[in-house]
Amino acid sequence: MSAAGDKMNCEEYQQAIAADPAFDGGAAHVVDCPACQSFRREIEALNIGIAKAMQIDVPPLQMPDLTNVERDNVVPMKKRSHKLLWFALAATVVLATSIGIRMSGMGQHYDSLPEAVLAHLDHEPRSLVVTNVGVSEEQLARAVPAKYARLDNSGPLITYARTCKINGEDVPHLVMQGEYGPVTVLLMPHEKIAEAMPVEGINVKGVILPVGDGSVAIIGEREERLGPIEQQIVNAVTWTT
């Protein structure tokens, strides 16, 4: 199909109309094509029928009993109580002692990359919101600087983008809206791995995939089908380091 929509043939025009009856391209073609004019009228009429046919009767709302339903723990970090923060801090200290977190310079280094990735996610709960507001091109460009990577942004909607540190290196941290909720993507141009590494959190799962001389972590809800997203991300990323 031509980008301008002005050099279409009948097949292209009719495909576009059948896919979206509101399609407003191809004016130069349709004005001189009675067959396509007729096709358009037919599809528009069909679409009105489809819309009417889909308006099935809806029963009255019966709200389930919500009184004792526990809410998910998705309170943003800034709203967590001090008590909870102290508890979390104490738990972190115990964990650090038991699994041997090693400290180096300003950043924390973990025994394994999946541990570092999960710890990072836990520190940015505000990124994990459901929204249909995407980040701007400028925000995305700032989060994924050209010196690290080039990202073809034609995949899922990106709703969060910033540069973070993992193992002392800059890591573009993106969040996309998956089928089952937010999906976190960490582009790690400096973390070369030999093979894919599973990431298993309490409520999340994912994978770190080797991509050239770096790797990409993709983590979502347990139910999320990450396969298609993994493929899109791997195809969309090019390292420039």
């Binding site: 979206d20 308006q55 459901v130 034609s154």
Partner: protein
């Protein structure tokens, strides 16, 4: 703000969102599962799930997308749990037939039956476009498909409906 006030406001927010989008939730569920009784169950589960995770919805402007995504997920869960067969259009249960029986005239009944008979892959994007008003880009994001794939499915869905309706008229 004390905790009961906060809970009250949370409940008010939830009730407001549900009152706006309940009809969309039910119709979407019904066209996904093609069964009135199952759609009611799916929506009940979706409401519970939405209540639990309401705090993750930062922007109420995204509520429709969020609620429909929950319905979609609950519908998938429902069928996964029960390992139900796909709908056999020639042997419908009473609850499935109920969806088709309400059409106000024969022409719409035929069209409804034709939509009912579309494969899930074609029916879902069509419902999202025609009934829910989503763009092909938004449908791609919801279904995790490239926009081109959505366009192809929508194009094929309408051609199938056109063909089936023409066939019904001839017979």
């Amino acid at each position: 703000m004390n905790s009961s006030n906060a809970d009250g406001k949370r409940r008010q927010r939830f009730d407001r969102l549900v009152s706006v989008y309940y009809q969309d939730m039910f119709r979407f569920a019904a066209w996904l599962c093609r069964d009135r009784a199952i759609a009611e169950d799916v929506v009940q589960e979706a409401l519970l799930r939405a209540w639990k995770s309401l705090d993750s919805l930062r922007d109420d402007g995204a509520a429709k997308h969020w609620l429909l995504t929950i319905v979609r997920r609950e519908n998938a869960r429902y069928f996964e749990k029960r390992r139900l067969d796909t709908v056999d259009i020639d042997n419908l249960t009473a609850s499935q037939s109920a969806l088709l029986a309400e059409a106000p005239n024969e022409e719409l009944a035929d069209l409804r039956k034709a939509i009912f008979g579309l494969d899930d892959d074609y029916r879902e994007p069509l419902v999202l476009q025609v009934l829910m008003g989503y763009s092909t880009k938004e449908i791609g994001e919801m279904m995790n498909l490239q926009q081109g794939a959505v366009l192809t499915r929508l194009h094929r869905a309408r051609l199938k409906l056109r063909h089936n309706v023409a066939q019904d008229e001839r017979s």
